[in-house]
Amino acid sequence: MDFEQLNTMQKDALKEIGNIGAGNAATALSTMLNKKIKMSVPNIFILPFSQVLELMGGAETLVAGGYLQVDGTAPMSILFVIPEESLKLFLNILLGKKEISDFTLDEMDISALKEVTNILAGSYLTALSSLTNIEFNPSVPALAFDMVGAILGNVLQLYGEVSDHALVIESVFLEEEKEVKGHFFLLPEPGSLEIMLRELGVVF
């Protein structure tokens, strides 16, 4: 089953998971940073791969991508992408960093971004788990800092065997007047989407 074939009710169910997940993530981030971090109600897109890249500003856009794999009854991949521009502001919020030098991230940045990926994935998975009663086991995250086309391509490949569409949750983080936009990708493996929707009670 492909995201493209979802009906309105099924899409709404996924959006609701996005909302709850964002709420959990904001709380977790605020606790970790001891700062008030808000997350706006996320936009959810179901897009073909080519448009996913346009949403990111083209295949060559430099981004950081945090990736992890989720095992269990409904295995999936999770990818969190932040473009270079937002990344500077994001690291400022996370680490109080003034500026990052061009094209490199130090150990501290990498570890902070992995931790954020962990928190976000954990928040969405907790939301998903409490609504579906499915257990999810996320892996340790990996991080890449490179062209978005290269990063996404790598993740979409497994998934590309069955689908040409991706579910994208656009998350906006807010700290005081600062606003950072990141994109969160939920990529269920073949069959996982059906299992989740069935457990959510949205029969198709």
Partner: protein, 160 residues
């Protein structure tokens, strides 16, 4: 200059002075083919090694095996001679480093292997390759002289 842009899981052919390019190759592989006499070129941006293992295989450009056949056919229509066609390939990186490497993480390597196998089956020699590593590549191919220009973010630029 006339440059045809090839997307992910997409392919195109052209005749010099037209050029071909594709951006953001990660574990995908860019297969550049050309006939040096008629200067007809082709570029396929493949994502996966094998169409026979896929349930959804309508898009020929997505898989190494079918993309090579399709590109060759389109080039021959543009007056390329199959026995003169040569290849240059780039991509097949592994963007994420994980402890314990599962098959999805080795997909770049599997893509490169499949491309080489199928080019060999079609008796197409590989003149140059820039594959592997853990970084993305943007490539620009000129069938006029067969030059393949490779651009990266941290590893500089080169021509093969």
């Amino acid at each position: 200059m006339d440059v045809i842009k090839v997307g992910m899981a997409d392919l195109a052919v052209c005749k010099a002075p037209q050029r071909l390019m594709t951006t953001g190759l990660g574990s995908c592989v860019g297969i550049c083919l050309y006939d040096p006499i008629t200067r007809v070129g082709g570029l396929a941006h493949i994502m996966l090694p094998d169409s026979t293992q896929a349930r959804n295989n309508q898009n020929k450009a997505k898989y190494a095996d079918t993309a090579i056949i399709e590109t060759l056919e389109n080039m021959i229509t543009l007056s390329a001679e199959k026995n003169r066609i040569v290849a240059k390939i780039a991509g097949g990186a592994q963007m994420f480093n994980f402890i314990g490497t599962s098959s999805i993480m080795r997909i770049g390597e599997r893509n490169v292997e499949a491309v080489k196998k199928h080019l060999k089956m079609h008796k197409i020699p590989i003149l140059a390759e820039d594959t592997g590593g853990n970084f993305g590549r943007t490539i620009n191919f000129n069938p006029d002289n067969g030059e393949l220009h490779i651009k990266t973010i941290n590893q500089g630029e080169k021509i093969v």
